[in-house]
Symmetry: C2
Subunit: 302 residues, 2 copies
């Protein structure tokens, strides 16, 4: 398995690559964008880290690539960015029978589905946290791009995301916390923190994972902070706009702070409510500089 | 005449306003976005300048608002941004009979049409360079927004644009050069510099202005640099990507440099060919910081 480079786009000081590859996890062709910062094209940079950005409902890899404006931050600190897709796609991939925007195509919820007919393709957890990093690592070892620098897509990594992708980032970070592939840093924008308890999550978890609550809990950040032990000093950064129409009904970031009380995560989740900001990329792009600095510190770049 | 504030979106340190108003020039309702930087909301800022950004073919005010990322630059230096639409719109506005993307709706070419059926609505020159600035100035005098600061949308202004909008910026800047409303600064991204000689321009000018060459020349930057005298030290900044598919056939920025030879503009047009960049907002956003600094200097902000 390898990647086709569909296009290489000059952006800021580096290049945005639009890649396509056949995924074993999803049994489909998957799109993914990778931004290689200016440092990648400079001989001296060596091995640079990668930040994975998981997008929200209805998004493709293009939304954040065009509107979140990570590129100048990646150039500033010297990390690569990875923008995966939000679900498998293709004619044979089952969609929500109602073709809604919050389930099925572009709404994979970053879980490994167990329920028919979704279990065959909707393996986004394995794809994002296992297959994709390994494939990227391998491909870029021999891609011939760059000037002798490499990206450590596998082991020197951070994760972030927006909305459903903020959930995906928190969930993956906590589930991988004791694994060899531990993310060194995690942040989220307007994250769905407790999918088991809200409409978006109930629909997604129910459809992909069935009705057994134990299957939901292993993905739910509100549960995970209770069962995963913080190593000591790791913190999580979250921003949430107060004018976000989904803030009170779907996202409910305070539930994560509540859940962390009395656990090793108490005081380690830095929730920033930002007055007047909405759910759009106008919000995300406004706080990308703060998240970039946070990840750069945790990745040892500053 | 006044504006309706359709939405106020928190973005970076300021607010993006989506405005709608009835235009006398175009006899239609027009959309325009205005970004008010953080300084506008601080008591001490006083009267801040405005930069007008004219978009390219097929764009609305949203493209640059979402993808050019002027907002952090506006916050850095303290100027407002204005993103006008690219044509009149509406059911009664005549489109290209072929419904092409390079003429008619979203392709107004920033000229005042003289030819039927376009002459009734396609008065984008008067709209952008006269009506819109006056209306904005008046509206924000009494809008009650901000904390005592005002924006000088009328007299302390710069202009820039992309592609067709790069043409619009150059053309408007040079035509207004001796007027009381002289723009203090002009730049362009991948500008169409000599519309009279290329397919996009011939179609646009022919359709809106008819076949008389004298009517084309008063808008064409390549002609204008020969008839408008540089005051002394004014310079124009242009960026052009070398991988832009329209560079060689439509945009041809070298023709402007050629035309300026032997005139008062010789050596005053700073054309930067940037290797590998395309025609997209990945290109525009990469060089917005340089253009912002250029305008900030010319507007006396640094």
């Amino acid at each position: 398995m390898s990647f086709n480079i569909e296009s290489q786009i000059s952006s800021c000081g580096g290049k945005l690559l639009k890649l396509k590859h056949d995924s074993k996890s999803t049994k489909t062709s998957m799109d993914v964008n990778v931004y290689l910062p200016r440092q990648y094209f400079e001989e001296k940079a060596g091995k640079i880290p990668a930040v994975y950005y998981l997008s929200g409902l209805s998004c493709t890899p293009q939304n954040a690539s065009e509107k979140a404006f990570w590129q100048p931050q990646a150039d500033k600190y010297g990390f690569a960015m990875v923008f995966p897709d939000t679900s498998p796609r293709g004619e044979n991939v089952p969609d929500d029978p109602e073709e809604s925007w919050d389930f099925g195509l572009s709404a994979g919820f970053y879980v490994d589905a167990t329920q028919s007919p979704y279990h065959k393709n909707y393996k986004m957890y394995s794809y994002v946290h296992d297959e994709l990093p390994r494939e990227l690592y391998q491909f870029f070892q021999t891609s011939g791009l760059g000037a002798g620098s490499t990206v450590d897509f596998l082991d020197n990594v951070a994760i972030t995301g927006h909305s459903m992708g903020g959930f995906g980032a928190l969930s993956g970070y906590l589930q991988q916390y004791s694994s060899p592939r531990k993310y060194k840093s995690c942040s989220a924008f307007a994250a769905l923190v407790n999918p088991s308890q809200v409409q978006w999550g109930k629909k997604g978890f129910g459809g992909y994972l069935g009705s057994e609550v134990a299957q939901w809990e292993k993905y739910d950040p509100v549960n995970l902070v209770k069962v995963v032990s913080n190593n000591g000093n790791d913190t999580i950064l979250i921003h949430q706009g107060t004018s976000d129409p989904f803030y009170k009904d779907q996202l409910k970031p305070h539930l994560l702070i509540e859940a962390a009380k009395g656990t090793s995560w108490e005081g380690k989740i830095n929730l920033n409510l930002v007055d007047g900001f909405d759910h759009s990329y106008y919000f995300v792009s406004s706080f990308v500089p703060q998240h970039a600095e946070f990840h750069a510190k945790n990745l040892g770049l500053i």
